[in-house]
């Protein structure tokens, strides 16, 4: 049973290692997150406004439940790096030179803190600095209030607000395209007319206090000063991304190992049952001598526990190794001062216990049945197996089946449950593989839709302030611009009953060519002349259907509040979107043809000149480059999915190998006498191999359809659980993926079959002459 024990142990170890990998990463990330947030006083509530006077800080502190208040000046600017042709978006955040921030403190990695009186010194977020090779002492330029200001890098810092750095309005992290810079508050306030005031506030909430109530009160306080809507920590971008990753790790950490452990338990059950059947006479003798069922049962269960223990040791070790590798991936996207891999005793112990539980469960069922047989009955030989013509043979084609095929079919039908269980085990292997391949296609499809059908512009230019329609012509006349479409983006809160969401309503052409509204089927949606077109998920969040009225509280300018009809819900992939035809939005705002930015199509040969002009344009808050976003997306996906696919294939192959090997060894054990007899009669090893492997081939082939269904089901389930307000993942099933999944598993099964087939060379032909069945 050594080979079988090894195969079962491998499946068990694979399941345990995946559990350890995912859960230890979850644990490490969670602990790091908690420690980081705690030590660096990460805020609980965030809000911004147009401009509020510092004197209202006391009112903020007086809000019930507020433990600490921090006001800041935060401004989005354009950064200019000599080595980078395009303008880069940046965010300037104020800090005091003489004290650490009360909330959202910074971890100083390199260099030093800014010095008092040094208006040009800056602390740069580490990711951005490393991406562009900015060392302490280097300089970079920022367009501050229309003037190009040279800033000197004092140090590299990390902030709990920017663990995950996403350029504004995007969902792909990219350290290089969004720089976060902390500067002396006085200098920043002076440059942006914020002396004696602030436009950003963060709050710490007392334990037990309600963040929702505090958010509501904060909005009330900030409303007169152009408050743009407060957010609790759960909706803060960086925290949300980290939390989402943690949830996924937890989900994966339970679901996938459960499959492996279930298969291992089944394999152990079958292997034990076979061993016990062979040892029936010995068990009978022991019982006759006076050994109890419990004593005999424990002897066999012990073996299962030994397998489990060894598998757990291997699995925990492998899981720790894989986990420490996985954490280095996280270090690339999540910026912590220190993200150390830690395998906690709790995770290791739980892994050990679940491995033992799975093995014990698998063994107990087989053992209980076997030891319960009365000794006299156990001493009698087992009744001969009863066979009958198989279902397939009763069809007309049955007459043409070879004897070997009939043997295979009848043997499978004689023990249908065992055959089903083997098929199910292999089906799960196919399912895991198929699911993994589907995920790759899902990401490809997302990229294709988002960057091929939705975002067809080369650039999106955002202005510091909304500008008149004249700006459209000015942008159109910039070097290299071949096409331009206006955008009017208005921050607003949409409210329906007790539900609300804060977002930006995007006004654009009814049927644009560049940035379009596209649904999951790839159809572009024409915006109606009036009313709101919302993402379907936004409709679900606000419990809105087409035709309903939604309250729009504009958070800009005159802050009108209007009732607007929802004219369509679009099932789209990314973001929580609200669109209006640009004219309709102008009417809602009671303004002329103003725009917040524009989508551009640009001649690639003149791109550099355009960048130079945009860098020098004070009115431009920033640009988003579609090609760069797509490249980031592909790089991240390529790296992640190469690793994930490798593991997926390896683990699925382990399951397939384990199940087929186990079935093959049991089949060989049950039929070695039969096969040896055939050898004596003159059958070659090749001919008897076909009989043995024919059964395994059939099991593998039968597993393909349910396996693909399992993969489909897993994909549906997990993609559904990944649906959120930032992105919805499309389910993409292709025949190529199905074929690859089936072929990979057939290859693994073939290898396992060949490993067993070698044992046919060692059949004892002499012994079989004397062996009773």
């Amino acid at each position: 049973m050594k080979g079988q024990a090894l195969a079962i142990g491998m499946v068990l170890a694979a399941g345990i290692s995946m559990y350890v990998t995912y859960l230890s990463n979850f644990d490490s990330l969670r602990r790091t997150q908690d420690a980081y947030y705690d030590r660096f006083r990460f805020a609980d509530v965030f809000a911004s406004c147009k401009r509020a006077p510092l004197r209202i800080e006391d009112r903020l502190r007086a809000i019930p439940g507020v433990a600490a208040v921090q006001t800041r000046v935060v401004v989005d600017v354009t950064l200019d790096l000599a080595a980078v042709p395009e303008p880069i978006r940046g965010r300037l955040i104020s800090v005091r030179a003489d004290a650490r921030p009360a909330l959202n403190d910074l971890f100083l990695r390199r260099g030093r803190w800014i010095e008092a009186g040094r208006d040009d010194e800056a602390l740069v977020n580490e990711g951005f600095a490393v991406a562009h090779g900015l060392e302490p002492g280097d300089r970079l330029a920022a367009l501050i209030n229309g003037r190009r200001r040279s800033l000197r890098v004092a140090g590299h810092v990390l902030s709990p607000e920017y663990v995950y750095v996403m350029p504004p309005g995007e969902v792909i992290p990219d350290d290089g395209r969004f720089g976060v810079i902390w500067m002396d508050r006085r200098a920043l306030a002076s440059a942006f007319d914020m002396e004696g005031g602030f436009n950003d506030v963060a709050l710490r909430v007392m334990p037990g206090a309600s963040s929702e109530e505090i958010v509501a009160q904060l909005d009330r306080v900030l409303r007169p000063w152009g408050g743009l809507g407060a957010l609790p920590r759960q909706l803060q971008t960086s925290h949300w991304a980290l939390d989402n990753e943690l949830k996924q790790l937890q989900a994966f950490g339970f679901l996938v190992p459960a499959i492996f452990l279930g298969v291992a338990a089944f394999l152990l059950n079958v292997a034990m049952a076979r061993t016990l059947a062979v040892q029936r006479p010995q068990i009978a003798s022991l019982k006759a001598l006076g050994y109890s069922n419990a004593a005999i049962g424990w002897h066999y269960v012990k073996w299962a526990l030994v397998i489990a223990l060894l598998a757990a040791v291997l699995g925990i070790g492998a899981g720790a190794w894989l986990g420490s590798g996985m954490i280095t991936l996280y270090n690339q996207y999540f910026r912590f001062p220190m993200l150390l891999y830690q395998l906690s005793g709790g995770v290791a112990l739980t892994a050990l216990l679940i491995g033992i539980a799975a093995a014990a469960l698998g063994a107990l069922f087989a053992v209980r049945r076997a030891v319960a047989i009365p000794p006299a009955e156990a001493m009698r030989p087992e009744p001969p197996a009863r066979y009958h013509t198989s279902l397939a043979e009763r069809a007309a084609v049955g007459r043409r089946l070879s004897h070997a095929t009939r043997m295979v079919l009848r043997n499978l039908e004689r023990q249908p449950w065992r055959a089903c269980a083997s098929v199910t085990g292999v089906a799960f292997a196919i399912g895991i593989l198929f699911f993994g391949f589907i995920f790759i296609d899902v990401m490809d499809r997302l990229a294709e839709v988002q960057f091929g059908h939705v975002q067809r512009q080369d650039l999106t230019v955002s202005f510091v302030e909304p500008r008149s329609s004249q700006a459209l012509f000015e942008v159109a006349s910039l070097p290299g611009v071949m096409a331009v479409e206006p955008i009017r983006s208005v921050p607003a809160r949409l409210r329906h009953g007790h539900r609300s969401r804060q977002l930006a309503i995007t006004g654009q052409l009814a049927a644009p060519d560049l940035s379009r509204v596209v649904d999951v089927s790839g159809q572009a949606v024409t915006l109606p002349a009036e009313g709101l077109v919302l993402s379907k998920i936004l409709g679900e969040v606000l419990e809105l259907k087409t035709g309903d009225l939604v309250t729009v509280e504009v958070l800009e300018g005159a802050r009108p509040v209007r009732q607007v009809a929802v004219t369509a819900l679009v099932d789209d992939y990314m973001g929580l979107n609200a669109f209006m035809e640009i004219g309709a939005l102008h009417r809602l705002m009671r303004e002329g043809g103003s725009l917040s930015g524009a989508h551009l199509m640009v001649d690639p040969d003149r791109m550099r000149r355009l960048y130079q002009r945009l860098k020098a344009t004070p009115a431009v808050a920033g640009i988003a480059i579609t090609a760069a976003a797509l490249q980031s997306f592909r790089e991240i996906m390529a790296q992640n999915f190469t690793i994930l696919t490798t593991f997926n294939v390896a683990f699925a192959a382990i399951i397939a190998f384990g199940v087929v090997y186990n079935a093959a060894r049991i089949s060989l054990s049950e039929r070695s006498r039969e096969l040896a007899s055939l050898r004596v009669l003159g059958f070659t090893i090749r001919e008897i191999s076909l009989i043995l492997l024919g059964e395994l081939t059939l099991v593998t082939l039968l597993a393909i359809p349910p396996g693909l269904l399992i993969g489909w089901g897993l994909a549906e389930f997990l993609l559904l659980s990944f649906q959120n307000e930032f992105y919805r993942l499309p389910l993409v099933i292709t025949p190529q993926n199905a074929a690859w999944s089936a072929l990979t598993i057939m290859f693994a099964a073939a290898l396992s079959g060949l490993a067993v087939r070698r044992r046919l060379d060692r059949l004892d032909l002499v012994a079989v002459l004397k062996t009773r069945e």
Binding site: M407, V680, L765
Partner: protein, 243 residues
């Protein structure tokens, strides 16, 4: 002792000279055969008689191409079996040898007819499976599975399976060992009929001396050596045997 006198039939099928088989059990050497010389002829029925450990099974295994001697030679129709490789021995068993095992060794998932048909696919001019089964008196049980047949019936199916190839040689290892007297007689009758009708050279192992009376010659083995070879003046019918 030594080479036998020619018995029924004419041609020499097997010519064994100096057959020795030694098993090494750790430091102990076990001599299963010690310099055995034996000839077997076409059409004769030979009983190999001896107690447990006398070497009769070892000798049968070597004649059947299942084992190779430590020293000595076995010629089958002039071909030296001891020089043959694995593939050649498989081909030899496939085309020339029919085996009957003590515990029948039928394929449990195939019917009687299918068990016989399985081996007829191995040779060029086999018997019809149904005909082979009729020879052994099982013409009415063609489509029964082994679990539906008695021990004697199963053994007769095994005999039909062995003869359906029209083998030159039929080797039977304790064919009645697992059967009661009356069933055993039925099986011996089948073997007797097959030997007489098909003129197959038949070697039959038994520890039951009563069975020796149905043979043309009886080879007595003891301690790995041929203790004696006797020719029966006349073969008795299996029905006349008493044990």
């Amino acid at each position: 002792m030594g080479a036998s006198t020619p018995a029924a039939g004419t041609g020499l099928v097997f010519e064994a000279r100096g057959l020795t088989k030694v098993y090494h059990m750790g430091e102990v050497e076990v001599f299963a055969l010690r310099g055995v010389d034996l000839d077997l002829h076409e059409g004769e029925l030979v009983v190999l008689l001896g107690p447990s450990g006398s070497g009769k099974s070892t000798l049968l295994n070597i004649l059947g191409g299942l084992d190779v001697p430590t020293s000595g030679h076995v010629m089958y129709h002039g071909r030296d079996l001891t020089e043959a490789g694995e593939d050649e021995l498989t081909a030899y068993r496939r085309r020339h040898v029919g085996f009957v095992f003590q515990f029948y060794n039928l394929i449990p998932s195939l019917t009687a007819r299918e068990n016989v048909a399985l081996v007829t696919e191995l040779v060029e001019r086999p018997m019809d499976p149904a005909q082979a089964l009729r020879v052994v008196g099982l013409g009415e049980r063609l489509d029964h599975f082994p679990a539906q047949l008695s021990g004697g019936e199963q053994q007769r199916v095994a005999i039909a399976r062995a003869i359906a190839k029209r083998p030159a040689v039929l080797l039977c290892d304790e064919p009645t060992g697992a059967l009661d007297i009356s069933t055993g007689v039925l099986v011996l009758e089948a073997l007797d009929r097959v030997n007489r009708e098909l003129a197959t050279c038949t070697a039959l192992i038994t520890h039951n001396a009563a069975i020796a009376a149905m043979a043309d010659r009886v080879v007595r083995l003891s301690d790995g050596r041929i203790a004696g070879i006797e020719a029966n003046a006349a073969r008795r019918s299996p029905r006349e045997l008493v044990w």
